[in-house]
């Protein structure tokens, strides 16, 4: 696949040099640099060949701004990085949101954080920030936002026709989503348009990354997605280890897998409870928390936290697991199997639940690809892509598990996919416990202040919500130059407006719950 793309892209673009890159160090296979006039052609090229736009990133290199487009493929592992240099004095670039729908929000984010204007973009208003912020946050040095920029950014007005009225869902939610505000234009009980408004929990993680050392930033990763914190930890730690070429001992890899899968179980259980509470059944929420408390009891003596873990370290773990941990995990796994039977009886066959979720929010494969959807939502739509199988890190390569796939792409399928993922997580934990090797858990001679070599890396992990992409640019100092987190909930939320159109208000809640969003990771 890689060679084929290289020759075809070279033929399509003519005089561009396409470099083949060491995938192990960089996380992508090919990279090339284009002009702003050709970026739309390149986007169409990848669209025709079935690629998806994984991320669109902007990096400020002081003399120039660089826009990085990362294209990935669902069928085979082939990642291409396309770079575009922009003049900081006149940052104008054509938009690719006409080709890839997910660029719609990626480009809005770049606009308000860097000041790059995208020609042809339908809506360049504030996404995360607001009028009180006077300079572009992620530009190096303080670059003021000009007055007319502020005006064009701040011109969001929800309005409607005669018979419609606008209603707000949030930001204070009675349900457990977090601070998400959705402005719904409604015609009676039917929804005409849904516009999410973000930024109520923007905690400046990416700017903090530029001010903190690599180890200091580790604590932030647990707070971005607090329900799947281990997966975020794993992604960050393995990305930096990949950049520095640190080898991790086997025992540490196995324990990392056990901890991440326990966290995945915990996150999916929480989703189950919260989804049913949204639909009105308040009791499964408590049963689910019972299981979660058991997981917390296992992980707390080892990691020290109940919720926002920061367990892994560069080179392994800082705390080894003992016999008590192994015994407790084995007992928990046995118990969990009987709990699955309980949930099956309580929820899966319930007629009211099935009627609320069948046929609601159907996502087709084409829309899933264009919107860069990932995780259980993508698998429910029919595309079997799991980062644990395509790009295994830690000890996932040695584990044997299935990737459940749905057929219809509606909320009921997403539910079934998640239940099967939970069962597979239990399988993985059993295998990892059985194969846990002896040995040290920390690599030797890992410096306290890490200084990775110059360059960039794009590393992916599978979190309970989908594909997490971490893009780190290092300039050989002990703080990252730029760190971008491509979070799965961001692209999953982009599908929501088109799914909600034409549905009832009650269905909105069912769709929003099925997407399993965690707002702090969207707002970063």
């Amino acid at each position: 696949m890689v060679g084929k793309i290289k020759t075809e892209l070279g033929a399509a673009l003519g005089n561009i040099e396409i470099g083949e890159v060491n995938y192990r160090e960089r996380g992508y296979h090919l990279c090339c640099e284009v002009d702003s006039g050709e970026i739309v052609k390149v986007a169409r090229f990848f669209d025709e060949r079935g690629f998806y736009l994984a991320a669109e990133i902007c990096v400020d290199y002081k003399e120039y701004l660089e826009l990085v487009y990362i294209f990935g493929n669902h069928a085979a592992l082939c990642r291409v990085k396309v770079a575009l240099k922009v003049d900081p004095a006149k940052p104008v670039v054509p938009t690719i949101s006409t080709v890839f729908d997910c660029a719609y929000w990626y480009e809005r984010e770049i606009r308000e954080f860097f000041g790059v204007t995208f020609e042809g973009h339908p809506n360049m208003t504030y996404l995360f920030l607001h009028e009180g912020i006077d300079y572009y946050p992620l530009r190096k040095g303080q670059v003021q936002v000009s007055a007319e920029d502020k005006k064009s950014l701040g011109s969001f007005q929800p309005e409607g026709a005669e018979d419609t009225f606008c209603i707000n869902l949030g930001p204070q939610h009675p349900s457990t989503h977090g601070v998400l505000r959705v402005v719904l234009k409604m015609d009676g009980e039917y929804i005409e348009e849904a516009e999410p408004v973000l930024g109520y929990l923007h905690r400046m993680h990416e700017k903090m990354a530029e001010n903190r050392g690599y180890l200091q930033f580790h604590a932030n990763t647990g707070r971005m997605d607090y329900l799947g914190a281990m997966a975020f930890n794993l992604g960050y730690v393995t990305a930096v280890e990949r950049m520095c070429g640190i080898a991790v001992p086997d025992r540490a890899n196995y324990v990392r897998v056990i901890a991440t899968e326990l966290n995945r179980l915990s996150s999916h259980l929480m989703w189950l409870g919260a989804y049913l509470a949204d639909l009105g059944a308040l009791t499964p929420f408590l049963y689910v928390f019972d299981d979660r408390e058991q997981i917390n009891d296992i992980l707390e003596p080892v990691t020290g936290s109940r919720l926002t873990y920061a367990y892994f370290r560069f080179g392994g773990l800082y705390n080894d697991v003992d016999e008590a941990f192994v015994a407790a995990t084995k007992a928990f796994v046995e118990r969990m199997k009987s709990r699955f039977v309980l949930y099956e009886k309580l929820v899966t066959g319930n007629v009211i639940f099935i009627n609320r979720t069948r046929g609601i929010g159907v996502i087709t494969k084409e829309r899933a690809r264009k919107q860069a959807v990932s995780g259980p939502v993508l698998r429910a739509a029919g595309i079997a892509m799991d980062m644990r199988k395509t790009e295994p890190c830690a000890a996932y390569g040695a584990m044997d598990f299935d990737v459940p796939v749905g057929t219809r792409g509606d909320a009921l399928d997403i539910y079934h996919v998640r239940i099967k993922e939970m069962e597979n997580a239990v399988r993985i934990i059993e295998q990892a416990l059985a194969g846990l090797p002896e040995g040290p858990v920390m690599a030797e001679k890992v410096p306290k202040k890490l200084k990775p070599p110059k360059g960039d890396i794009y590393h992916t992990v599978e979190t309970p919500r989908g594909e997490l992409g971490i893009y780190i640019v290092s300039d050989e100092s002990d703080t990252p130059y730029r760190m971008k987190w491509r979070v799965p909930s961001f692209s999953n939320l982009m599908v929501f407006p088109e799914l909600a159109k034409g549905n009832l208000l009650a269905d909105t809640v069912a769709i929003l719950g099925a997407l399993d969003l965690v707002i702090p990771e969207i707002d970063r």
Partner: protein
């Protein structure tokens, strides 16, 4: 008569669902089967501010969220109390750094706070202790002996 009313208010504090970030999960854990907050009468989490008396601010308050928080606080009828749960609500938490532009460093810059519960996130037992302290503030007497009295 005031004393009886104070006792009644302390024993039936109805919190408002105002979970913002990670601390919200610990707040939910406190109302679940293990750390049951219903024992103290506070299980009824009313979603509307007009029917609740306690606002547990759990999570980071950003500048975009600040007007919303103040509006909700003003919609609550008196007597009302505020618990600032977690480091972010007390003083901005781990998100205070030089050059920060979006986090409000402590919810007591916006509304008067009665009890501060530190932690990142605080354990559900810590939240229950905060509730005990609030009840002590309302009635003048503590329900269970505190840690300093037992040792």
């Amino acid at each position: 008569m005031e004393k009886v009313l104070d006792l009644a208010r302390a024993n039936s504090l109805w919190p408002m669902t105002f979970g913002l970030a990670c601390c919200a999960i610990e707040m939910m854990s406190a109302s679940m089967a293990r750390f049951d907050i219903a024992r103290f009468g506070a299980e009824v989490f009313r979603p509307s501010p007009r029917q609740s008396d306690l606002m547990i601010v759990s999570g980071t308050v950003t500048k975009k969220m600040a007007p919303v928080l103040i509006t909700l606080y003003e919609q609550m009828p008196a007597p009302k109390w505020v618990i600032a749960m977690g480091n972010c609500a007390i003083s901005g938490g781990p998100f205070v750094f030089e050059g920060q532009y979006n986090v409000i460093e402590g919810v007591d810059l916006l509304v008067p706070v009665d009890v501060y519960v530190p932690g990142c996130p605080p354990r559900p037992e810590a939240l229950l202790e905060g509730l005990m302290k609030l009840e002590e503030k309302i009635t003048g007497k503590r329900r269970f002996p505190g840690p300093e009295e037992r040792w």
